[in-house]
């Protein structure tokens, strides 16, 4: 269960007022959010470093949070900066397809709404198709990993994903069967 914007903001403001317990609660709640943020940007091996760096930044730079503004916008602006800084210092390049996503500010609300929409849509599919789409398209597992995790063949995974996506596409176009 992920903490809501309101909850995070309440913790943040209480932390700014000097409440250490709420500050710790905030930092703990940020860990899964930041994991998800960095995982989607394919930096698998450095996620832990990035998450810790960002937590330190959130702590040391917390004076820059304006209590009247959205907390997650501030958080993801820091996370994005840390990631770009990380790429820059490692002289790595960011694939151009991902650039849009990196530059566009992350709407927390929109992202969680989208997640709920996806969950609802996946529930309409047969269980195996939904599971395979979730594994390969959302959690970012490889086909081979998904196959061995479920104890089925790789081609079975591919077919399930393909059929599932096709059914979802048809559903989104409006021709509900």
């Amino acid at each position: 269960m992920r903490a809501s914007e309101d909850q995070l903001r309440t913790w943040m403001i209480s932390g700014l007022d000097g409440n250490a317990a709420d500050h710790a609660a905030l930092l703990r709640a940020l860990v899964p959010l930041l994991h998800a943020f960095y995982r989607r940007r394919s930096v698998a091996d450095e996620i832990e470093d990035l998450v810790q760096d960002t937590l330190i930044a959130v702590h040391t730079r917390r004076a820059t949070y304006d209590r009247d503004r959205a907390f997650t916008a501030w958080l993801f602006a820091i996370a994005r900066y840390k990631m770009i800084d990380h790429f820059r210092s490692n002289r790595r390049t960011v694939p151009i397809e991902g650039l849009e996503e990196i530059l566009v500010a992350e709407g927390f609300q929109a992202a969680s709404d989208a997640r709920m929409d996806v969950d609802q849509l996946l529930d309409t599919l047969p269980a195996k198709q939904a599971r395979m789409i979730r594994a390969t398209q959302i959690d970012g597992m490889s086909v081979a990993d998904a196959a061995s995790a479920d104890g089925i063949g790789q081609s079975d995974v591919k077919v399930s994903v393909h059929r599932g996506l096709k059914a979802l596409a048809a559903r989104l176009r409006g021709d509900v069967r």
Binding site: L16, G18, L55, R61, R62, A63, T64, I78
Partner: protein, 213 residues
């Protein structure tokens, strides 16, 4: 170190943060830097001996109005760029107002002065030195702002460096008025502004390296 330990360590150092902490921190950095620059002027260049009298005149306040309004605009931009989600800088065009006002005073000056004296008025006695002194005196203020930035979170480092340099230059020009006896608006518009722009360029140059966090 694992993340849980890290969080415990960080939370153990939870100090209260006052509202408007960004403004306070920038203000403190600027004030300390400006005090150092003023001290530097007093010890090396010397305060102009007629400062008391000059403060009753028009030109002194014309110069201060110009440099102080640039300083306010620049520090506003710096405070926006000091936040990761600071927002746009569209209102920065307001800086054109003091420049335009000073330019119109310059035009009036030119109308009132015979053409043969225009060059002497424009160059004054110190045009060769003035921009460099403004740039030099901006350094303590820039260092003060670098200290401020140690707890701030700029994400556009070059822009933040330029804004901090602009602010340092404008405050430096403000304290330089304690020394500089020049009276012409055209002089100030050219040579003071050049010094301020040099400071801003310096800030833009070093920003990406020095403001990283």
């Amino acid at each position: 170190m694992n993340t849980d330990q890290l969080i415990d360590q960080l939370a153990a150092k939870t100090r209260p943060v006052r509202r408007h902490a960004v403004g306070w921190r920038l203000g403190l950095g600027t004030a300390i830097g400006a005090a150092a620059s003023t001290l530097l002027i007093a010890m090396t260049l010397g305060i102009r001996p007629d400062l008391g009298a000059a403060m009753h005149g028009f030109t002194f306040w014309m110069k201060w109005t110009y440099t102080i309004s640039l300083a306010i605009g620049a520090i506003w931009a710096t405070s926006r760029l000091a936040r990761p989600d600071g927002g746009g800088l569209r209102r920065l065009w307001l800086l054109a107002i003091p420049v335009g006002l000073l330019a119109s005073v310059g035009v009036v000056e030119m109308i009132r002065t015979p053409q043969s004296e225009w060059l002497a008025m424009w160059l004054g006695h110190s045009w060769k030195l003035c921009p460099w002194l403004v740039l030099t005196l901006a350094m303590p203020i820039f260092i003060g702002l670098l200290w401020s930035f140690r707890r701030l979170a700029p994400t556009r480092l070059r822009a933040a460096g330029a804004a901090a340099g602009l602010a340092a230059g404008a405050f430096s020009a403000t304290v330089y008025c304690f020394h500089c006896p020049e009276v012409s608006a055209l002089f100030v518009l050219t040579w003071y502004s050049l010094g301020i722009l040099l400071a801003a360029s310096f800030g833009a140059l070093v920003g990406p390296r020095l403001l990283r966090w």
